[in-house]
C-alpha cells in the first residue's frame, strides 16, 4: 500500500540534484541602469507539477512589503491622488519581510507591522520642471507625523500609527535605513508651484492579494529535453547532423 511510495522517497533522495547555472545580482551587473537580479537553476529528478508549484508560489505566495495606505495632505500636481497612490504601491521596498508581521484592517499600526514613508516635494517658482523620484521618499522610523483630528484636549496628539519604540532602535535598522529598492523610479513630474505632501504606510502582503506584493518580476520554468541517439551516426551523416541543428546541440567526437 504505502510501501511503493516510500521507496519512491529514497529514489527521490538519491536522484534529486540542484545546480545553479547563473546568478545575476547587483554586484555582478556593471552598469547602473541595467541592474538585473536573476537566478537560473536546474532541478534534476522532480516532476513538472512540482516545478510549476514552485513557479506559482514564487509569483503569488512569497510575502513582501509594499505601500498600501497613502495619506495625502496636499497634491497640486497633475497626477491624480489615486494614480499617485497606485504608483507608490508599485515601488519595491528594500526590507526583509520576515522582520514584520501581517496587519489586518482592524489592527493598530505598530512598529512591528508598518513602515512609514514621507514624501514632501515642492517645485520652486523657477520654470524648470521637477521630476519626483523614489529616492525622495524619506523613512520615518518614529511612525506617522500626521495628526488625527482629535476632539479631546489631551496633551498627547494621536497620529495614524502607534509606535511604542522608534524603528531606528531595532538592531536590524540601526545602521541601514529602509529605502525603496531603486532610487531612480519616477513617481510624478511637477511644474513650478506644484506640491506633493503625503505619507505612505507600508504593509506586508502576498502576490495573491495584489501584484505589487509579488517579489519576482517573473518566474518561469521549462523542461530540459534529453536527446538520445539510437544509432551511431558517423562520417558525412554526422557532419550533416551537426549543421542541421539550429541550437547547436550536437558535436562531433573523434574516434
Amino acid at each position: 500500500m504505502g510501501v511503493d511510495n516510500s521507496l519512491n522517497l529514497e529514489k527521490f533522495c538519491e536522484n534529486f540534484k540542484v545546480e545553479v547555472i547563473d546568478i545575476k545580482d547587483e554586484e555582478s551587473s556593471g552598469t547602473d541602469w541595467d541592474k538585473e537580479n536573476s537566478i537560473e537553476f536546474d532541478m534534476v529528478g522532480i516532476d513538472a507539477s512540482l516545478a510549476n508549484a514552485f513557479r506559482r508560489i514564487l509569483i503569488a505566495e512569497v510575502p513582501t512589503m509594499a505601500i498600501e495606505k497613502v495619506l495625502i495632505a496636499n497634491n497640486t500636481s497633475v497626477v491624480q491622488d489615486e494614480v499617485l497612490a497606485h504608483r507608490l504601491g508599485l515601488i519595491p521596498i528594500k526590507v526583509d519581510p520576515r522582520l514584520f508581521e501581517y496587519k489586518s484592517e482592524n489592527d493598530a499600526a505598530t512598529e512591528k507591522n508598518t513602515i512609514v514613508f514621507k514624501l514632501h516635494v515642492k517645485c520652486g517658482k523657477d520654470s524648470t520642471r521637477l521630476t519626483v523620484k523614489s529616492d525622495q521618499l524619506k523613512w520615518l522610523p518614529g511612525g506617522s507625523e500626521l495628526p488625527m483630528a482629535a476632539a479631546d484636549s489631551s496633551s498627547k496628539i494621536k497620529t495614524y500609527t502607534s509606535f511604542s519604540c522608534s524603528q531606528d532602535s531595532l538592531p536590524e535598522f540601526s545602521n541601514n535605513p529602509i529605502t525603496p529598492a531603486y532610487p531612480d523610479i519616477t513617481i510624478a513630474r511637477l511644474r513650478s508651484g506644484q506640491e506633493i505632501e503625503l505619507e505612505a504606510h507600508v504593509v506586508k502582503g502576498l502576490g495573491k492579494t495584489h501584484a505589487k506584493w509579488s517579489p519576482v518580476s517573473t518566474a518561469w520554468y521549462r523542461m530540459l529535453p534529453e536527446v538520445v541517439l539510437l544509432q551511431d551516426v558517423r562520417g558525412e551523416n554526422a557532419e550533416e547532423l551537426v549543421k542541421k541543428c539550429p541550437a547547436k546541440v550536437f558535436d562531433i567526437e573523434d574516434g
Partner: protein, 122 residues
Amino acid sequence: MNAPDRYERFVVPEGTKKVSYERDTKIINAASFTIEREEHTVGNVLRMQLHRDPNVLFAGYKLPHPLQYKIIVRIQTTSQSSPMQAYNQAINDLDKELNHLKDIFETYNQAVNYASLSNHSY
C-alpha cells in the same frame, strides 16, 4: 462589482472546514475531497503524487469555477486500499519529499554563501 475580495482566495471563513470528504454512492472505493481556498499549486502536486501510488485507479482534481476558490480531488482505489488511506499517504509522502527538497536547497545555499564570502572582499 461582483468580483469577490482578493483575500477570499486564501482565507477560510469561519465555520467552513478546510477539507471535507464525500463518499461516492455509486462506485465502491471512490471518494471526493473538497479542499477550500486552494488551487492548482496544491491540486496538481497532490494529483501527481496520487498517480504514483499503484493502488490508485483514478485520481484527478478540478476547480469547479475560477471564482469559487476550492478544489475537488476525486480518488478511486483498488480494494486493497481506501481513498482516505491513499490521500493521507500521498500527503505524508509529499511532506517528506518537500522537506528533503528544502534541506538540499538550504545546504546548497550555505555552500554558495560560504564560497562567495571567501571570494568577495567586503
